[in-house]
Symmetry: C2
């Protein structure tokens, strides 16, 4: 799977993914109103608005980008209708040829992680037939439970040609509370990085492993250090834009060929029309504002590679 992602990155010259993390407050009134009229002002209506919003943004950007990253929490908050919108979004993006990274941060004890891996990357056997569920191309994984919690996801990568990104150093302000604490002189995130390389060694897909790492754009020194430590591990880099990470901050996530990372932006793209820079598009043309924001992000990141 990672080789497919890289191929698409090279084709689009855009090492980015668009974070499809819709909050109701991002969705323009005309989209909300239409959805509420059709389905009611309830979770079904909200989920319809989310789906229509996503679809418009995907339609306006898919030819420029290799991948999207829907954050499942934003759908889960609406319960079943929300998760149906998640599934619909995943399918639609895949039809458009995009690599879909499900940002689910799942992780549990072995047998339970196996169920998550089945639900998000694989397929469940019922009788003699296999049924995929959410069937994203890649998914994010939480490492706190250790090897037996991550291994089922790695197995799913190998069995179904999928990929994962394991949380190593996250982009949020509190990420250092545990992740930066020193163990035998090295921060915890480095120990996690060691394990990620170990887990991914048997999952090479060309030059890179299908087992990648999440490394936040908001901690540039650590990005550089982790890039050196993990030469064959692809990075998913959240935190660009709205969270404060700049292109200069994250250039060290890339190798000398400009490969090795995919940078996510969510709010900065999908709610672009709300920013002064793109205000001229107006709420009516929110998807065009997103397209312009994608082009600007590609240029911004391209300028440092």
């Amino acid at each position: 799977m990672i080789s497919r992602l890289i191929e698409k990155i090279q084709k689009t010259k855009a090492p980015i993914c668009v974070g499809l993390d819709p909050m109701l407050s991002y969705i323009p009134a005309q989209v909300l109103d239409r959805a509420f009229e059709e389905k009611g002002q309830n979770p079904e209506g909200a989920a319809e608005a989310v789906w229509q919003f996503n679809k418009a943004i995907v339609d306006a950007t898919w030819d420029l980008i290799p991948s999207v990253k829907p954050q499942i929490a934003m759908y889960e908050q609406f319960g079943i209708p929300g998760l149906m919108a998640y599934e619909k979004t995943v399918r639609y993006c895949q039809e458009k040829g995009l690599v879909v990274i499900g940002d689910a941060k799942r992780g549990d004890i072995g047998s339970t992680s196996a169920a998550y891996a089945t639900g998000h990357l694989g397929s469940v056997k019922i009788g003699e037939k296999e049924f995929p569920a959410f069937n994203t191309d890649m998914v994010t994984v939480n490492p706190y439970l250790g090897t037996d919690g991550v291994k089922p996801f790695v197995d799913a990568c190998n069995q179904f040609d999928k990929g994962i990104f394991v949380l190593v150093k996250t982009s949020n302000p509190s990420s250092g509370e545990f992740q930066d604490r020193k163990i035998d002189g090295r921060p915890l995130y480095e120990l996690v990085a060691d394990k990620v390389m170990e887990w991914g060694a048997g999952s090479m897909d060309g030059e890179w492993s299908n087992v990648g790492a999440v490394v936040g754009a908001t901690y540039p020194a650590m990005i550089a250090e982790l890039r050196g430590l993990m030469p064959r591990t692809f990075f998913l880099v959240p935190g660009y834009g709205a969270q404060g990470g700049t292109a200069e901050d994250l250039k060290l996530a890339f190798d000398k060929d400009g490969l090795g990372a995919i940078v996510n932006s969510s709010r900065g793209i999908i709610a672009a029309y709300k920013k002064d820079t793109y205000a001229k598009f107006g709420a009516e043309h929110f998807a065009e504002a997103s397209r312009q924001a994608v082009m600007d992000m590609i240029a911004d990141i391209g300028s440092v590679l």
Copy 2:
């Protein structure tokens, strides 16, 4: 919420919860066949079987127990129909008066954790109305992202009178890989324990905090240590039975009044009819086997308190 759980524990004299983690392989043929006939041999049929299986076990045990812990991964693997069975199970158990602990192990950066907290403990605002989604009474939370990833769940506890159990020391074989590593001479799980107490200090509900901890039954020495360290933190203790933890192992999770912990058993209860001890019930009477297994578990744990 924790005071409600404690009240129910005292009434039933059973500090246990039944883990509703159905695998298809646990479900007797007659339940599977009927569900497949009705809904097809597909995820809808599997989800129907899961629901019917859960309902039978709940009907056979609800009067003996204070709580259940459905593991959402086991439902998520079937996609939307599976999650509908999860929701149906949660609602049914709540109608029976049980405290429902959603074992979801969610955790993300602040704004995303807020969406998870909304989906699992709170309600989402659409227009002027609030809509709950999965609406479990308590939920498990992963601490790897630190305070800003956990805080939204604590806020939801305070706003909606709910509870959480934060992963401190998990029951699985690899849990020590990161959790046991020493930081300034103390294992990581102790640092997490410190934070859990800090997060929970503003969420006292009687003698105990609504912010609890997951502490695995498979590591008795650590249970004892953590009980001492966290005097007002309620423990959710997985790992009893099938995973190897014994009543003797986990008695140190309780305080001198026999309070302070709730012990989970999943396979050992819901698939009891498959064990030699309960084989006499036969697959036809699987729910009665579960009832007997619950009574035996209560007696076993009662014997050490």
